[in-house]
Structure formats: C-alpha cells, structure tokens
C-alpha cells in the first residue's frame, strides 16, 4: 500500500523505507514507537531484536506522534535501542494451503515441527471479512455425533457454532475428541477436515488430542495450531484467527466440511483482558474490555455455510467457566453469540455420568430445522420436547423428595424418579467409545418415557404414542 504523504520530519533512526531502530517504551507485549511515518491501523509489523530473532506484531493504535505495536511472540529480550521495527504496510496475513492438514503450527501459522511449510495457495487476511447475511445459507444438515444427549436433545447441525461450557477437571476434551471422531453426515458429503486451535492449554491436553486423532487415523486431515500454556499469552489472541482463516479456505475454497475445535476460549479472553488493562482502557464487567462481545463475535461468526459453495464450518469452542459460573462474562457473552450451548454439570460427573451434559440449560438453536421427518425421524421434535419437559419435572420431584423423604412421594412422583434415573443412567450416559445411531438414541428416549403414564405425555401426539410408547 503506497502512501502519497511525503515522509518529512522523520527521526534519524529511520533505517530504510519503513524500518526503524529504537523503541521509546516497552510494556508487556506492547512496544511504543515515536516519530514514524504515517502507519496504518492494523498494519503488520516485523520486529527484530539485537540478537536477530524475528517476531511478528500488529499496530493497535496509531497517531502522528506515537504508534503502539503488539508483538504476538512477546517482548522478552528486547531492548529500547536495539529494537528494529519494520512496518509492512499491509494487514497480517496467512499463506493458506491444503497441505497444512496433518501439520502442527504455532498460533501465527509457523511450523512447530521444524519442517518448512508448503507454498501457500492464497494469502488471506487473518481477520477475515464479515459474511454478507444475504449470502449465508441456513444450516440444516444434521450431524450424527453418536452421543445420545447431543443427537437427541441438542442436535448439532453442519455449520453451527455450538460451544461446550465446562469447568476445570470435567471431561470436555474427551467429549470434543469423541465428537471429532464420530461425527458424520448421513448420506451426505464426507470430505471432512478438522482444524484444531489450542490457546494456553497444557501440553498434555494437546497431546491427548493428537493421540486421539492418530488412533482413529484422521491425523492427516487435521491442522493443529498450538499456542500452549508456556507460549507468550499474547499469541493466543491471534491463534483462533489464524485457525479460522485456514478453515475458511478449506471450507469455502476447497469444499470441505470443516470442524473447528477452539480450546480454551477462557484463556483467549484473559489475554485480551491483559492487553486491554495494559493499555489503560476502561473496563466493563470483571475487568474485561467493553469490546469483548464484538471481539468474540468476530470469531464465532466465522462459521456457517455460504450459498453456492460446498463446504461448511462447524465450530466447537470449549470454555471452562471460571468457578463453574455460567453468568461469568465469558460464557455469558459466548451464549449470546453462539447457536446454543452444551452445558456440563459437575454434580452429574460426580455421580459417574459421562458425558455429564445437563440437558436443561443445554440448547441447540438450529435443531428445529434439522430434525424430524426426512432428516432424523418424524417423532424426534416432539420426543425431545417431551423429554425436556418431563426431565425438568424430575428436578422438582427430587427437591421435594429431599424435603419430605422419598417414601412420602405419590406414586406418580415415584414414576418420575424412575424415569429420571433411567434417563441419566441409560440415555445420557454412554461410553467414550460408544457410537449410537440416531434411531437407537430415539428408541432409548421412548424407553425412558415408558416409565411414565401416557396421560403425562402431552407434548407428543396420540399417533406417536401408539407407534412408539411402551415398545
């Protein structure tokens, strides 16, 4: 990008064209440069320290007196006079290519495995562009995950963004790996790819995913972007963008069905807060910046389908709710952007139920158009509705039982208790390796309802009762 403005009144520190030596201030991952030429907002920056190590950065704030650059690889080892900055005059881009599948990269898309990256097919701005809402295709293809509580009650749709709200120590990684392994579209396009972005997670977690992909032989179809717990925290702010840029290329230019796993979004948000605080911005809730919603939306909205293109991006972000609090800004804002959520319950996990998905707060917003006749089975919508309604009554009955004792319950309430146990132990609960078809899942749902008298089932039609109830 050439500029007309004459480069007048510059400091002697100008080395060549757009390169300067000497920063005026370094604070955390931020470097302040004075007396530069007019630098564009959001421009890519290449930084070299006195030892000759290259780092990548981006312009966060620009004015005619000072330019603020954030360095994704951190600032340790930099000195004020020894910092060499080169403004590239273009936004941060990623050289994307299909060959990135099967490779392990860092948050910026540079190889971690030592080997050189293949030549890119296209150079894309990592920030992406908003999709025109009129160009979107409404997602409605059912993905069978083989997990009853998801397929039956919070159905995953191709092109959906469905986060897992979990807590520390809960098996969200197992569930994500199980979904990645078992997900299939029935009778549909099967050119699957997985893009995995790890932000601030431990090496073991990344290892778990790699092993799990390896075991099932899909590793060649997985691109991993790892920014682990010991990498600079600032790198996490760019990792999901890099990963989604590749995902968009694979989905919309190469026609693949891409599943993007982002873990852990909580770490991403904390990095944002760190930068925001450093810059002295006015915080909103719990110190998180006021733009957290917009910032998360920029990531989550990079999913879906586009009319006339074959591929799709399905997002499965994982976040650990601080203190298991679903009202915390991170899960809260996420829930407002994503198309539903899968919520884990520590108490259920404590009782040995895997996956410990609490059906009541969990929700899939796209489910309504992806289930029913011709997609799953005709009775699915009413059955799911009935299971929710009945299970929510179980909670009331259990509360009552804890007050007046189980013996005092009416016989109807006893039936509800039995239904609740069956539902949790047989329907929700399943093995890490168990892959149930949607028919099995639905029949199991009817089996659970079999514990209740037919008069209690008002969300299903008489015809459905006749066909499925008590069989």
């Amino acid at each position: 990008m050439m500029r007309n403005n004459p480069l007048v009144g510059l400091d002697q520190k100008l080395v060549s064209g757009r390169e300067y030596v000497g920063a005026s201030r370094i604070d955390g991952p931020l470097v302040y440069m004075r007396n530069t030429h007019p630098v564009g907002y959001g421009e890519l920056v290449e930084c070299m320290d006195s030892a000759g190590i290259r780092r990548t950065g981006q312009v966060l704030d620009t004015s005619d007196s000072v330019v603020v650059v954030q360095l994704f690889e951190g600032t340790s080892g930099l000195t004020l006079p020894g910092t060499r900055m080169r403004f590239m005059g273009e936004p941060l881009t990623l050289d994307v290519s299909e060959q990135m599948l099967g490779r392990v990269m860092n948050g910026l898309g540079h190889p971690r495995d030592g080997a050189a990256l293949p030549k890119g097919e296209e150079e894309l701005d990592v920030n992406g562009l908003p999709v025109n809402p009129t160009a979107r295709e409404y997602p409605r293809d059912f993905i069978q995950t083989g997990i009853s509580v998801i397929d039956g009650l919070t159905t995953l749709i191709q092109g959906q963004k469905l986060p897992i709200f979990s807590g520390n120590g809960l098996p969200h990684n197992q569930l994500a790996a199980q979904i990645a392994r078992q997900a299939k579209v029935r009778g549909g396009k099967s050119d699957f790819a997985v893009v995995f972005a790890a932000m601030g997670v431990k090496y073991d977690v990344a290892r778990f995913f790699i092993d799990s992909f390896e075991e099932t032989g899909v590793l060649d179809n997985v691109a991993l972007f790892l920014s682990l717990a010991d990498d600079p925290s600032i790198e996490r702010t760019i990792t999901p963008r890099t990963a989604l840029t590749l995902a968009e290329h694979l989905a919309f230019n190469k026609g693949k069905q891409v599943l993007v796993i982002l873990t852990d979004m909580t770490n991403y948000c904390e990095s944002l807060r760190e930068i925001s605080t450093l810059r002295g911005e006015i915080p909103s809730r719990k110190g998180y910046p006021g733009y957290l919603y917009s910032n998360l939306a920029e990531l989550y909205e990079r999913s879906g389908k586009i009319t006339g293109r074959d591929g799709s991006i399905t997002q499965l972000p994982i976040l650990t709710m601080p203190n298991d609090d679903i009202g915390h800004p991170i899960p809260d804002l996420t829930g407002y952007i994503t198309e539903g959520q899968i919520v884990f319950d520590r108490e259920m996990y404590g009782r040995g139920i895997y996956p410990p998905v609490n059906g009541l707060p969990s929700l899939s917003r796209l489910m309504k158009d992806g289930i029913g006749e011709g997609m799953t089975r005709a009775d699915h919508p009413h059955l799911a509705n009935q299971l929710f309604a009945s299970y929510s009554h179980v909670k009331d009955v259990r509360n009552l039982a804890s007050v007046i004792g189980e013996e005092e319950l009416t016989s109807l309430d006893h039936q509800y208790m039995e239904f609740g146990d069956f539902f949790e132990r047989k329907f929700v609960s399943q093995a890490f390796t168990e892959d149930r078809s949607i028919e099995e899942t639905l029949d199991l749902g009817w089996k659970a309802l079999g514990h209740l008298p037919a008069e209690e089932l008002q969300r299903v039609t008489d015809q459905e009762l006749e066909e499925h109830y008590g069989r």
């Binding site: 630098v39 959001g42 005619d64 009129t134 979107r136 006021g290 733009y291 009416t410």
Partner: protein, 596 residues
Amino acid sequence: MQVRIVGQVKRVNGPVITVKGITDAMMMELVNVGEQKLVGELVKLSGNEAVVQVYEDATGIAPGDNVYGTGMPLSVELGPGLIGTIYDGIQRPLEELKEACGDYIRRGINRPSVNRSKIWRFEPVIAAGQEIGPGMVIGTVLETERVVHKILVPPGLPGMKQKARVVSVAPAGSYTVEHIVCTLDIQGAEVPLSMLQRWPIRIPRPVAERKSLRVPLITGQRVIDMLFPLAKGGTVAIPGGFGTGKTMTQHAIARWCDADIIVYIGCGERGNEMTDVLREFPHLIDPRTGRSLMERTILIANTSNMPVSAREASIYTGITLAEYYRDQGFHVAIMADSTSRWAEALRELSGRMEEMPAEEGFPAYLPTRVAEFYERAGYMKTLSGKEGSVTVIGAVSPPGGDFSEPVTQHTKRFVRCFWGLDRALASARHYPAISWLDSYSEYVDEVSAWWDQKSDGMWRKSRTEIMELLQKEVRLQQIVKLVGPDALPDSQNFILEVCTLFKTAFLQQNAFDDVDRYSTVEKQMRMLEVILTYWHLGSAAISKGVTMVKIRRMKVVQEIARMRLTVPNDDISELDRIALRLERSLSQLGGIYDEK
C-alpha cells in the same frame, strides 16, 4: 459526492478516529475517511480537532489521510422500494452489495439505498394550483400488493413554513424514484420534488399531535394478548438471558402481529438468524391478507461481526424508516433485537473516546439515549391528518440474565410494558417463556374497552380471574415444596390443577405448529372461557364432594389440554362442543352427589 476536505487523520483507535485541522465541519456531519472513503460520522468537535466514528473496519487508515465532508448529517433515503429489502446498519442494501463484491462485505463500497432504475406507477392525488402543506400526500405508488405507498411533501423544506402552491404535478404514469413528480412554489422559488427524499436518522420526524393509545396490537400470542397486552403506539421491553427465547418471541410477533409494516432490526445478533428470516418470510402467508409476509417487512441486519459503530446507528435507521411509513398513515411495529448490543456499542465507542464511565462502564448519557429512542414510538395524528403509529418492541439481553443491570433498569423506566423471560420456563421448554409473575403491562386499562367490546365485556373479568389464580398458585406451590401435594385439601389442589392446565393448554404456544403458532382473538377468548368453566364447575363439584382425581381423569380434560393444537383458527365451533362435553361430564360426576 462533492470533494471538500475537512481535515486530516491524527489518530486511529479502532472505529474512533481523531481528526486535526478542522475548518468548517459540523457536528453529526457524514464524512468519508481516507482514499477508501470509509463512511463515518463526526461526533465531537473541539478547537480544530474532531472525533469521527467510522462505520467500517478502520484497518489501513493512517495519520495524515484526508477526511472528506459531505455537508449533511447521516441520513436515510426514503421512497418506494424500501419494503422487502434487507439493509445493513447504515442502510446499504445487502443484496446489491453482494452483487457488487461477492459473499463478503468489503470496505468502502456503497450503493444507493433505494433502487434508482426501478419503475413505479405513480398516481397523483393533487392538481396544479392547489395549496399543500408539509407531510401531505402528493400521490400514491403501489409498492407491494398490500402497501399503497404515499409520496409526501418532505417536512422541513427550507423556507416552507405553511402551505405552498403546487406549480405542476406529473400525470399518472411510470417513473423512477428520481423523476420530478411535483413542483412547489415556496416563497416565489420553484422547488422540484421527486419520489425520493432523505431524513437525518437522529431527528424524529414531525407529527401533528400525539394521541392516546386505545387499540391493542394483536400478536396472536395468547400470553401477550390476554395477559400482558401491548397497545399500538406503545413500547415494550423483552429481557431475557441467552436461550430464553427473545429472538423467537420477536420473530413470532413479526410474523403474526396485525401491524401494516414491520421493521425488523437485527442489531449485533447472529448472521444465521437473519438468514432464517430472509429464507422464511417470503414463504409465510399473512393470515389477514393472504399475502407473503415479506411484502410488509423491512429488514436491517447488522450482525455481531459487522462494525460496532454501524450497530449503534442501526437502531436509528430502523426507527426513521418506521416513522416514514407512520407518516403515510400505517401502523408500524419495529423490533429491535437486541437493544443491549446497541447500548454496548455506545459503551465501546464511549470508552474509545475516553469518556468518564458511569455504571458498569456505560456512558452517563445511556438513559437519555434509551429514552430518546423509546419516545419515538407513539400513536400519532400525522401532518396529513391521518392516524398512524409506531410500536417499539425492544429485546434486552441482560448479562447473566440479571435484570438489575443498567440497560434493563434504564429501559424499564421508559417502557410501559415488560415481558420478562424466565430461564426456568425456557429450560422446561415452556415457550414463550414469558413469566406471568415478573411481567406487567400498563396498557391493560387503555385497551380493555377495545377488548371488552370484542368479548361482551368478558376480557377484563376473565383476565383478572386467571391472574388471581396464578398468584394463589405461587403461594400454594411454596407449601407443596415443603410438605408435598397430599397435604392440601382438594379445593386447593384443584387450583394447582387448573393453573397447570392453563399453562400447558393456553400459555404455551408452539411456534412451529401450523395451527398453534397463531391464535385469533376469538379463539383466545373462547379457550380462556373453557378453562375458566373448568375452574368454576370443577370447584363447584369438589365442594359437593367429588374427588379431584375423578375430575382429572375425565376424558374431556385431555381434549382441553390439546385444544390449542387441534382446533383450527377459522372454525372454533369445536371449542363450544368441548365446553358442552365438559359441562356434561362434570354434571354427571356431581349428579351422584346431588341424589344423596
């Protein structure tokens, strides 16, 4: 656009740009920043510096870039062709942007908001030599099969105080929107008028007078129409945490309410939701006119990943379009989903301008802005003497579902109707999850005359009765939670029974069921009567000694529970038969005791 440089960029901080060297720029002027001509609005002037908020991503803008003035405030274009179109927050037509630059929205592109080449059939209603005032009708255009668009004399023409003489009017014929259809003589100067006009979005359009609200906006949603009615020209807030069904409720109202025009603003929400509306509305048929719903709908989509400052503007863009149709004598309903995203956009911009924050980082002027927005609603006598209304339905997304946060609280101060969504109801898939305990409507008194006329004076009475029962139920539930239902006598247990039936058979409404998604006024009234009959006759039977278990087991109770799904809107005679069977069954049960 004329080339007038008003200053140079000094600093770029996200969507907030400081400009130096300002000479003659004015407040709220629409400006273009840099050689890419990014659209922005001048929001602050101080000395020779100004602050501009840009409505597009500012990447690449550098200090020293020129800022160009346009000499006018941020405005919308008004004219035939608005209906059925989908716009972004600053009224750029998204369909045309897609044709211009593909599936992604690129920066610095612009297309006229109102199609310039489309031909409209114009019919004049005035003749040369007549006197005509601001806001009065020049002629009509059939915009869609159901909307007769009136071409108005724009209010606020320079020099036009009172009426002006019509010099000439175009004869009936087919014209584009830019064709001159009328020439006025304003203080000796001839002023040509086309079908196209502009209006600044932040200024309310003038009206003759505000009228009091008397007519309900019928939504076809039972819990709303019967318990918490909304008046035409009224304001309502729908707060609810994520997943409680704000958007679903807004969609249901947009589909089935009896407004003439719908303006639906997707403000900082999901892209797929707008796609859903776009995909679905053209195929949905309005039960009143038999025409496609898209023929009365304008969509404004500023999804969450589109620039934040355009999100701030989208609310004003929407309400200005609504006012324009109100001035033509239409009843307009505007849905803003969600006003919290708009408030957050204010907060983000305020933060970047380094203003002193008030509660939770929101700027201190938040309540003023909220009030200004909701006050643009109303039932008006327009300048042309017709009646029209703008009803505002605003969704609020309180963080953590906590209604004590600033946006919900300030909104509550300025709306008169409140439909609180309840997470427990949503979890049990009781939709619409409008809580009958938190919600209220101040319009009950105002619209009861209308309703009572429709229902032989029964509406007010029935509503009060069922609300009382629901209140009693809460107290009884507390007892049940402690000691179990068996401890209550049948007369009280029956209250629980009736309320449970009322909730499943009446309050719940399945938006995806072809019959249940919408209920006519008559069906709603009759359904409520059936349930109240069950209550009256049932409690009479219990006082005679019939046990509740027997009443509950009557076959007709199952029929009542399913009547919302089984009785079609156009033939509700089945409800009479259900009521008859109910009376018979109960008198049979009670009869045994009468003989004794």
